[in-house]
Amino acid sequence: MFRNQYDTDVTTWSPTGRLFQVEYAMEAVKQGSAAVGLRSRSHVVLASVNKAQSELSSHQRKIFKVDDHIGVAIAGLTADGRVLSRYMRSESINHSFTYESPLPVGRLVVRLADKAQVCTQRSWKRPYGVGLLVGGLDESGAHLYYNCPSGNYFEYEAFAIGSRSQAAKTYLERRFESFKESSREDLIKDAILAIRETLQGETLKSSLCTVSVLGVDEPFHFLDQESIQKVIDTFEKVAEEEEDGGEAQAEADAPVEQGGAGDQDVAPMEM
């Protein structure tokens, strides 16, 4: 994508019917560090890569609890993500207060999308530069949605966003048909494996990722480092044995990256 005369503000269409500012906002999502989400009939798992600005600093928080039955993982401008999480928490708690009942995640997602759309149609605003993976429950079970800066939202069986997410998506595409009936444990394992794909050869350690679970009888919570490490241990050993066959295939699967050459292109405000 190159600079052109139609990309200065969000209220200018290009002759080919594109809003470039919105598309640039979606680029910002691709620059953030990876986040993945998967769902079964009764559970949703959200996982993210812990990226720290430097060795001295702590890592950015990318997964937020919105309510006992809704969680969100973000990629892109984390400040925008934080503000939208606060909005989601507010909507959720207002609904709970009035109706004493959890807000169905599908309805929250639409409100979020409508909020994002407003920013694509005002000359004095800019689109939110963050993609959100929203996992939650409603009457029909567990759902996973992806909200993008354009104001669109989609429901997914599994999805990955952020840098090197294509590798995770490829992994998920191979296995998504089994997720619906997956057990909670298998779902968590698949999430961590998907995260591993985005690390491109870096050894997977529990300190590198954050994993969260929510389910029909399980309020949203984060898994502690120990539990994550245990899951990693179950397959890291197997991976060592498969090294020759497996790794070659993983490298063939991961195509040339969209979203920059990696870390040195990440702007400080994006994580």
Partner: protein
């Protein structure tokens, strides 16, 4: 009873207008509602009278209405405020249906919404002069609750409003039990309604019984209860009271 809130913005005319908009006392009122949980859901009974003070002016008022797919609302108190509440709920159910997403408002949600509305109005010194009974069934779970005009709200296995609290609930406390059959439930309600008919002067002998189950709401046709007035005590009721006629 007058509720006047002193507002001094220097505008006597505007204040007077605003004051005349607030509910100060009820005009056309409905009397008790009695409701119980039974095996398949909730049974609710009310008579069809609308009193204008001590005159029984209207005798065909339906004080129980279905709300959405899963709830039944009964009201005593000011009839026009009940109609206002039905308008609020109509909008609520409409918006809920417009989502068209497989989620729907259950009786618990409606009850809590009404509690918020009633309490907020009470805080503005402009109450909706009703006591509401909300019953319903959703996903196999039976729900029965009540909200008063000041926002007092609770759930129970059996509820009653107005005179029903004093005359019907003692009967229900003794005779209600879980998993009543439909016939036993109706008999129990009729027993309560008969006592109310004898003793509540704003009750009329024309009642409806509504039932709500997982399948939906049915409101019966109006009918009358058999009464017996030949008790010895009714023959000369003031016999013991000196100076009465």
């Amino acid at each position: 009873m007058t509720f006047t809130i002193p507002i001094d913005n220097g505008d006597a005319v505007k204040n007077a207008e605003a004051d005349s908009q607030r509910t100060l006392y009820p005009y056309v009122t409905g009397t008790s509602i009695v409701a119980i949980k039974y095996k398949d859901g909730v049974l609710m009974a009310s008579d069809m009278g609308g009193s204008y003070g001590s005159t029984l002016r209207y005798k065909n008022i339906e004080r129980m209405k279905a709300i959405g797919k899963h709830s039944l609302l009964g009201a005593s108190g000011e009839i026009s405020d009940f109609q206002e509440i039905l308008r609020y709920l109509d909008e609520l159910v409409l918006n809920d249906n417009m989502w068209d997403d497989g989620n729907s408002l259950g009786p618990k949600e409606v009850h809590n919404y009404l509690t918020r509305v009633m309490y907020n109005r009470r805080n503005k010194f402009n109450p909706l002069w009703n006591t509401l009974v909300l019953g319903g069934v959703k996903n196999g779970e039976t729900y029965l609750g009540m909200v008063s005009m000041i926002g007092v709200s609770f759930e129970d296995n059996h509820v009653a409003t107005g005179f029903g609290n004093h005359l019907a609930r003692p009967i229900l406390r003794d005779e209600w039990h879980a998993d009543l059959s439909f016939e036993d439930g109706v008999k129990l309600l009729e027993k309560c309604m008969r006592v109310l008919l004898y003793r509540d002067r704003s009750a009329i002998n024309k009642l409806q019984i509504a039932k709500i189950t997982e399948e939906g709401v049915t409101v019966s046709q109006p009918y009358s209860l058999k009464t017996f007035w030949e008790f010895k005590a009714f023959h000369n009721p003031t016999a013991g009271a000196e100076g009465s006629w």
